[in-house]
């Protein structure tokens, strides 16, 4: 079962777990807005349509490559504050290594393959977050 969702509302991880826990092994990754570098608010913009298609391609690729019984990707958009969940990725497989590896794949590739942009406000000043070369490197190790 594949579920991808772009959400203006807070990500409800307990609800996502119900869909995800199909048996065997479940791995999840949750990205939270950092509270420790002075960020007051974070805002996520995306490319409607293209985003959902990119997430679906990633979930389908992971499902085929690691024989997943479930894969979930939920990404928050709009304004959010430190501590809130930006992204949730979950995988379910009969085997733990498959679930864990597919989960790492999904979050690494999401960072480079899905059209989201972060804008953060620190001390009243708003700036677009720069892409990180380390994210390109992390994504490249899966090809």
């Amino acid at each position: 079962m594949i579920r991808v969702h772009v959400s203006r509302a807070p990500i409800d991880v307990p609800a996502e777990l119900i869909t995800l826990e199909q048996g065997g092994a479940v791995a999840t990754f949750t990205g939270l807005v950092r509270a420790d570098d002075g960020v007051a608010t974070l805002e996520l913009e995306h490319y409607p349509g293209a985003t959902e298609a990119a997430l679906m391609r990633l979930a389908e690729e992971a499902s085929a490559r690691w024989s997943l019984t479930a894969a979930t990707i939920v990404h928050r958009i709009g304004p959010m504050v430190p501590g809130e969940r930006i992204v949730f990725v979950g995988t379910c497989s009969a085997h733990r290594t498959a679930a864990l590896t597919a989960c790492a794949f999904l979050i690494d590739r999401l960072k480079t393959d899905a059209p989201f942009w972060k804008r953060e406000t620190i001390d009243g000043e708003t700036r677009w977050v720069e892409a990180r070369a380390a994210d390109d490197d992390a994504a490249a190790r899966w090809s």
Binding site: L44, H46, Y47, V87, K111, P115, A131, D135
Partner: protein, 83 residues
């Protein structure tokens, strides 16, 4: 052809989308960007550093040397920063 812009590309241009009809000779995304630069100061500011731009044709990521022939929607934006 519909053009869509995101993040600081959208902000500098001042609109999120526009319709254009590129002249003959505009073959690739890079050609398109160079041609668009002349449209306004905003376009010039958005496209000043082509190395910082990324693109999609009909909602799929492509390289800047990809052809635009037959495209209904071309998106131009900064490197993505989701997750």
């Amino acid at each position: 052809m519909k053009l869509v812009y995101f993040a600081w590309v959208r902000e500098r241009i001042g609109v999120g989308e526009e319709d254009v009809t590129p002249p003959v000779g505009i073959v690739t995304i890079a050609d398109l960007v160079a041609w668009l630069t002349g449209r306004s100061d905003g376009h010039a500011a958005a496209f000043a550093d082509p190395a910082r731009l990324r693109a999609a044709v009909d909602q799929a990521f492509v390289a800047m040397d990809a052809p635009i022939a037959g495209a209904r929607e071309v998106a131009i934006f900064p490197p993505v920063t989701g997750g």
